[in-house]
């Protein structure tokens, strides 16, 4: 089986879905001739033509709003927001239109669409090319929010997202685009939206993560293993709706929980996992639930030392694991 990068897996999924279903199309800034600023759509314009790989005007709200209209008509748009940081002009269309369409029409209208966006820091992108936006959308009934951490899941989840009858926010850890490699079968397979994945079995404590932080968490867990601490790692993969069962099963076994994300601490997604554990696994806990997150500053600063200060990394995660294990 071929080992490919995260971004290759994403491209492969789109290529196969465009080939499978004529109603699928891609729309976004620079997705056509340029093949995307990260090259996620490289070669697709040449293969499927300008009517199915559409270079949009430089205006995010209508990338999504036009996508919604096409979806209402029966198409299956994949909307690319060039950086998650640029998604806010489309916030109204995502949250107030796409997410609410099914409920507000009592099921008369549905919006089958995918909104892809590269997110996250560590790439020298400063405040406006580094943001994590998942918490905004994981608050909104009607949306599904998916964040892959490896090429296999990236391909399988994106295919599921394209085929899903609802709006799916698909966030891609861009730091891992070419860094994270893995074996991915060619041809059709899907990974279901919803279930989390226990990616490392352990008994001493559980770490919950997704995207790039999941990649770092596995590295940190290896380090802790050499120190005699047995860490279980849960890759949440779909953060909304969340897989409560897997979250709870793990913490009930280990008794200790750490949540890692690079989004800001306050109001971040980790608070939701902590609340689920507090409500439904309180008596199983041997330690307070801990969070390792980005600090509460507006976004990731540009200069390298400042960026390093902001970002969680394997060393910081390992330290948080040690502290929790010692509690």
């Amino acid at each position: 089986m071929a080992e490919i990068t995260l971004i290759d897996a994403i491209r492969q999924a789109m290529d196969e879905e465009l080939g499978r279903d004529e109603s699928v199309f891609i729309v976004g800034e620079d997705v056509g001739k340029r093949g995307g600023v990260f090259r996620a759509t490289m070669g697709l314009f040449e293969k499927y033509g300008e009517e199915r790989v559409i270079d949009s005007p430089l205006a995010e709200l209508s990338i999504v709003g036009v996508g919604i209209g096409a979806a209402l008509y029966g198409m299956r748009p994949i909307c690319e927001i060039q950086f998650a940081d640029f998604i806010y002009p489309a916030f109204n269309q995502i949250v107030s239109e796409a997410a609410k369409m099914c409920y507000r029409s009592n099921g008369e209208w549905t919006v089958p669409m995918v909104i892809r966006a590269p997110y996250g820091g560590g790439i020298g992108g400063g405040l406006y090319h580094s943001q994590s936006v998942e918490a905004f959308f994981a608050h909104v009934p009607g949306l599904k929010v998916v964040i892959p951490s490896n090429p296999y899941d990236a391909k399988g989840l994106l295919k599921s997202a394209v085929r899903d009858p609802n709006p799916v926010i698909y966030l891609e850890p861009k730091k891992g685009y070419r860094l994270i490699r893995g074996e991915v079968p060619e041809g059709d397979f899907t990974v279901p939206i919803g279930p989390a994945n226990v990616t490392r079995k352990g008994s001493d404590l559980t770490v919950y993560a997704y995207g790039m932080m999941h990649y770092y968490t596995l590295q940190a867990a290896e380090k802790l293993a050499s120190e005699g601490v047995d860490v279980e790692v849960v890759d949440l993969r779909t953060i909304y709706p969340v897989d409560k069962q897997t979250v709870l099963e793990s913490v009930k076994k280990t008794g200790k929980a750490l949540i890692v994300h690079e989004d800001n601490l306050t109001g971040g997604y980790g608070g939701e996992i902590a609340a689920i554990i507090a409500e439904e696994a309180f008596t199983d806990l041997d330690a307070p639930v801990r969070r390792l997150c980005g600090p509460d500053v507006p976004a990731v600063p540009f200069s390298h030392p400042l960026q390093d200060w902001f970002m969680p990394n394997p060393d910081k995660i390992a330290k948080a694991m040690r502290d929790l294990a010692a509690y």
Binding site: P57, A59, S62, G65, Y73, P77, G107, N166
Partner: protein, 327 residues
């Protein structure tokens, strides 16, 4: 595009039915029998004229909340409207989840919309894009107020439609007020249609109190779009003869003299005079129509007041497409 005498009378009937329904809603509100009403009085000519220019049920519409007469032309019934006003379970557009006058009618290709203005315009562009991708000869009509032309959503939608020559008709129902703010505080040009010139599409202003003039203008724009020649921006000039909604008091921002002056060109009166002048509408015929309308409105009120409220158990659904039909 010449209208038959029967069609002219049918158009008058649609205006009359919409007007009397709208008036009854005001009465019911003042009697404390409904909670809210937002009116389309004064705008019926533009809506009926535009509706009759479409292949109704085949072409698509993304309406806004003053489009009662448009919806009546598309098959929305007096009973449907009263079920919405009273918030009853059988309300067909949203199961009474939405406020009244937030339309949707799947069988007529009339798309569900929200309350923030101009949000429906990108959907129209997306529907137009899908029509073009599928090489069909349908068109989409999107209606909006002149206040909505201040929104970025509208500019982005018009820009898309113009770039890709999409079969979209943007009809601005310029009723001179966005709640309390007059048109000259919304735009620096005398007509909403003037905004077309910088965006690469045709802009036409028409007397929106003349149902037959609007029909002719929209029919020409529809033919233009259907032939693949792209979008048209139409301004229909009119006056909002009522307060913004049942919660508004327009005496706080405009004089009674101004409103009385506008009533001289009430579109229902204008249409009646036209038909009388052409010998199509006799006093006896008019009385028969009024009696028939009253019967229908009375029936709708009684029907809705006897109808059941929604079950609270159904309120959890359908948030996602998988849940349609559940509950």
């Amino acid at each position: 595009m010449e209208l038959s005498n029967d069609t002219k009378l049918e158009m008058y009937w649609m205006m009359l039915l919409s007007r009397r329904l709208d008036e009854r809603a005001w009465v019911l509100h003042r009697q404390g029998r409904i909670a809210f009403h937002i009116s389309g009085i004064g705008q019926e000519a533009a809506q009926v004229g535009a509706a009759f220019a479409l292949r109704r049920g085949e072409d698509w519409v993304t309406p806004y909340y003053r489009d009662l007469a448009l919806m009546i032309c598309l098959g929305y019934t007096p009973r449907d409207f009263l079920l919405a006003l009273t918030g009853k379970k059988a309300e067909p557009t949203s199961g009474a989840r939405q406020m009244p006058s937030h339309w949707s009618l799947r069988k007529a290709n009339a798309v569900s919309h929200s309350a923030p203005v101009a949000t429906q315009c990108p959907h129209a562009a997306g529907i137009g894009l899908a029509i073009k991708m599928r090489k069909e000869d349908k068109v989409v009509l999107t209606n909006l107020g002149e206040g909505s032309t201040s929104q970025g959503e509208w500019y982005e939608a018009v820009n898309w439609a113009a770039i890709h020559q999409l079969p979209v008709i943007f009809m601005v129902e310029n009723n001179q007020y966005a709640i309390s703010v007059p048109a000259d505080k919304q735009m620096a040009v005398p007509s909403s249609a003037d905004k077309a010139c910088g965006m690469g599409l045709r802009g036409i202003s028409v007397d929106g109190t003349d149902v037959y003039a609007v029909y002719t203008t929209v029919a020409e724009a529809v033919a233009h779009a259907r032939a693949g020649n792209g979008p048209t921006l139409i301004e229909a000039r009119m006056y909002r003869l009522t307060p913004h909604s049942s919660d508004d008091d327009d005496r706080t921002y405009r004089s009674r003299e101004e409103v009385d002056e506008a009533k001289k060109t009430d579109p229902l009166t204008v249409a009646r005079q036209t038909l009388e002048g052409e010998g199509l509408l006799t006093k006896a015929k008019l009385e028969e129509m009024e009696a028939r309308v009253k019967e229908m409105v009375d029936d709708a009120v009684q029907f809705a007041e006897k109808a059941d409220y929604p079950d609270v158990a159904d309120a959890m659904f359908p948030v996602y497409a998988e849940e349609v039909g559940r509950g």
